[in-house]
C-alpha cells in the first residue's frame, strides 16, 4: 500500500486513527498500530509478511540473548551473529543475482522495504550492544519499532534509541496533530503535484539525444527524485505525528547545498546518520591515520552505493561521492571558500546532477552516454523538437520545482503562520483543501506514479 493511494488516504489511515484514538491504554494502542502495520505491509504481497515477522522475532531474541552474556567475547560473537543474519537476509534477496554475475538467474523479488527495515533492525541490535538502549523485553515494542507502517516501506530509518521512549508512552498534542496533518499534506502535494508531473517529462525525454533534451532529462529526474522521496518522508513523518511519534526531518533542502559534504548533511539524513553511527564511527571515523580515514570514507560510500541496489551504477555512484568528499577535504575546501556563493551552488548542483545520472541509468555505458550528450558528445544537435516542446510546456513546472526546492516554502509557511493563520485561518484552510482536492483528482485520473524509493 502506498501513502498516496486512495485506499490509504480514505480508508486505512482514517480507520487506524479512529481506532487508535478510541482505545484506552498505550499497550492496546500499540497492538492496533502493529496489526495495522502488518496489514499495510502485507497489502501487496502477503508472503513477505512472514519474513518481516521472522526478522522481528530474530532481532528480539538476539538482543535478549547477547544482552545476557557476561563474557565480552561471547557477547560480541552473539551480537555479530545477530547482525550477520540480518545482512544474510538482505544479501540473499537483494544481491544474489548480482554476485552470481549472470551465471544463473534466480527468480527473487525484493521484499518491499527490506533495506529499510533491516537497517532499523540492525540499529536496534547495535544500540543495545553499544549500551545506548536496553534490550527490549516487550516483543510488541520491538515489532512496532521495526514494522511501524509510517516507516517500514521507505523509511525514514529512525534509530532505535530515538524511537525508544515513544514506544513506551507518547502523547498526541494539538501541536503534533496540526503539524502532522500539514506535513502529510505537504508531502502529498510534493509527490502528486510536482514529482509525478516531472516523471511524465522524464519518461518522455528518455529517448531524446539532443543536448538540451538530455539536460532536461537529467534535471527532471534530479527534481523528481527529490520531490518524490522528500514528499514521501514528509508524509511519513507527518502521519507518525498523528500517532504521537516525533521523527527528525529526512531532508533539509539539499539542492541549496554549497558543497558535497553540505549536500549529504541535507539529503536522506536518516541514512547518512545510520552509516555514520553504525559503520563510520565504529571503523574509527576521522580519529585515525590519513590512510585509514580514506579507507573508512571509501567503505562507507561503497556500502551506501550498494545499499541502494545491486548494480554497478550504484557502486560507481557511491564511490563517486566518496572520492568527491575526499577531494573536497584535501584539495577543494580552500578553493571553494574563496569563490562566490553562486559558484559554490553551481559546482554542487552540477556534480550532484552527474551523480544522479549514474543513479538513474540501467548500466554504466548508458550513464556515460547521457553524460556525454550533456556535453555535446554523441548528440544529434543542440535541441530537438520534442525537447523544445517539453521545455515550453513544462517551464512553469520546472520553475515551481526549482523554487520549492529552496527554502521558499519555509518562508511561505512563516508568512502563512504569521499572516494567514492569524488573520484569515479560513483562507489558509481553503488553500490546503483546494490543493488536496487537486491532488486527489490527479490520483483518480490515474496519472499517479509509484514512489521511486520503493525500488530500494
Amino acid at each position: 500500500m502506498s501513502f498516496s493511494s486512495l485506499i490509504f488516504i480514505f480508508a486505512f489511515l482514517p480507520l487506524t486513527l479512529l481506532l487508535y484514538h478510541l482505545l484506552p491504554t498505550s499497550q492496546i494502542k500499540n497492538m492496533v498500530l502493529l496489526f495495522a502495520s502488518f496489514l499495510f505491509y502485507a497489502w501487496d504481497d502477503p508472503k513477505f509478511l512472514i519474513l518481516l515477522i521472522l526478522s522481528v522475532l530474530w532481532n528480539y531474541v538476539s538482543a535478549l540473548s547477547f544482552n545476557q552474556e557476561t563474557d565480552t567475547k561471547k557477547r560480541k560473537r552473539s551480537f555479530v551473529f545477530g547482525v550477520v543474519v540480518n545482512i544474510l537476509i538482505l544479501g540473499f534477496f537483494k544481491y544474489t543475482n548480482f554476485f552470481l554475475g549472470g551465471l544463473v538467474h534466480l527468480k527473487l523479488s525484493l521484499p518491499i522495504g527490506l533495506s529499510f527495515f533491516t537497517f532499523s533492525a540492525i540499529s536496534y541490535l547495535a544500540d543495545v550492544y553499544m549500551g545506548k538502549s536496553k534490550a527490549q523485553k516487550n516483543l510488541l515494542s520491538v515489532a512496532l519499532y521495526i514494522s511501524f507502517f509510517g516507516k517500514v516501506n521507505m523509511g525514514p530509518i529512525v534509530q532505535y534509541h530515538d524511537m525508544e521512549e515513544f514506544l513506551a508512552k507518547r502523547e498526541v498534542t494539538g501541536e503534533k496533530w496540526n503539524t502532522g496533518i500539514v506535513l502529510f499534506l505537504k508531502g502529498l502535494f510534493k509527490k502528486v503535484l510536482i514529482a509525478d508531473r516531472l516523471a511524465v517529462m522524464f519518461g518522455a525525454l528518455a529517448a531524446d539525444t539532443s543536448v538540451v533534451g538530455t539536460w532536461l532529462y537529467a534535471i527532471s529526474y534530479m527534481l523528481q527524485l527529490y520531490f518524490d522521496f522528500s514528499g514521501y518522508s514528509d508524509m511519513a513523518i507527518g502521519l507518525s505525528r498523528l500517532f504521537g511519534f516525533d521523527f527528525a526531518p529526512n531532508f533539509d533542502h539539499p539542492y541549496i547545498a554549497r558543497n558535497i559534504q553540505d549536500f549529504w548533511r541535507r539529503w536522506h539524513i536518516s541514512l547518512s546518520r545510520w552509516f555514520r553511527d553504525y559503520i563510520y564511527i565504529p571503523l574509527g571515523g576521522n580519529r585515525v591515520s590519513q590512510t585509514m580515514y580514506i579507507r573508512n570514507i571509501m567503505i562507507v560510500w561503497l556500502c551506501t552505493g550498494l545499499w541502494h541496489g545491486a548494480n554497478w551504477t550504484f557502486i560507481v555512484w557511491g564511490l563517486y561521492y566518496g572520492l568527491l568528499l575526499l577531494l573536497e577535504k584535501y584539495f577543494l575546501r580552500d578553493i571553494l571558500s574563496h569563490v562566490p556563493t553562486a559558484v559554490q551552488h553551481i559546482y554542487t548542483l552540477l556534480l550532484v546532477l552527474i551523480g544522479w545520472v549514474f543513479f538513474m541509468s540501467p548500466n554504466i555505458g548508458a550513464a556515460f552516454g547521457v553524460i556525454g550528450r550533456m556535453f555535446f558528445i554523441g548528440t544529434n544537435g543542440l535541441i530537438s523538437s520534442s525537447a523544445w516542446f517539453y521545455l515550453k510546456s513544462n517551464i512553469l513546472l520546472l520553475i515551481v520545482a526549482c523554487v520549492f526546492s529552496t527554502t521558499f516554502y519555509k518562508y511561505l509557511w512563516r508568512m502563512d503562520v504569521v499572516f494567514l493563520h492569524k488573520q484569515a485561518p479560513l483562507a489558509a484552510t481553503i488553500v490546503y483543501v483546494l490543493l488536496f482536492v487537486i491532488s486527489i483528482t490527479y490520483i483518480i485520473s490515474s496519472t499517479y506514479q509509484s514512489f521511486l524509493y520503493f525500488a530500494f
Binding site: W58, Q68, V85, I89, F93, V104, H105, K107, S446
Partner: protein, 161 residues
Amino acid sequence: MKKFKIVQIVLFVLICLFMGSFLITPTDSKASFNYVTKTTLKSENMDQYTEQNNQNIKRFLSIDPTAYKNVSYYKNVDDMKASEIVLVQFKSDDQAAAFEEAMNQRVSDQLNIYDAYLPKEADLCRDAIVYTQANYGIYVTNKKADAIVDRFKTSLKGESK
C-alpha cells in the same frame, strides 16, 4: 540463556527455510506449445486480435523470435486499444530474465503512448502481467489478465489424460 539459544536456532532454521523456498524452481512443463496456447486463450474472444508475424514481434517487442522455441504474439486489431498477449516457450530457462525485461520495457513504452490520451488503456498497461515459469513465459495486457495467466499456469500442468 540456553532457551534464547534454542529459540535463535529455531528462528535461524525458519529463516533459512523461508529463503530456501525461493530457490526451489519449477521443473520444465512437458505440455506442448499448441496446448498451452489453446488452453490459455480458450475463453478469450480472439476476433479482436491479430496474430503478429516475426517481423512485428521484432518491431513491437524487441525480441528475436528465432531465439525462442516458440513465440505467439496477439495484438488488438484496433491500435487505440492496448490489449495484447504474448506466449513464449524458451529454448533454455535462462532466457526468462531477458524476456521479462523486454516485456516490462514494452509495458513501459505502451504506458508512455497511452498515458496522456487514453487513460483507460494506460490503466490496462499498469495492470499488465509478465510471468515466467521454467520453460514458458507470458505477457498479458488485458482487462482479464489475471484469469488468462491463471489458465496459462493450469495449462503448464499438461494435458489431462
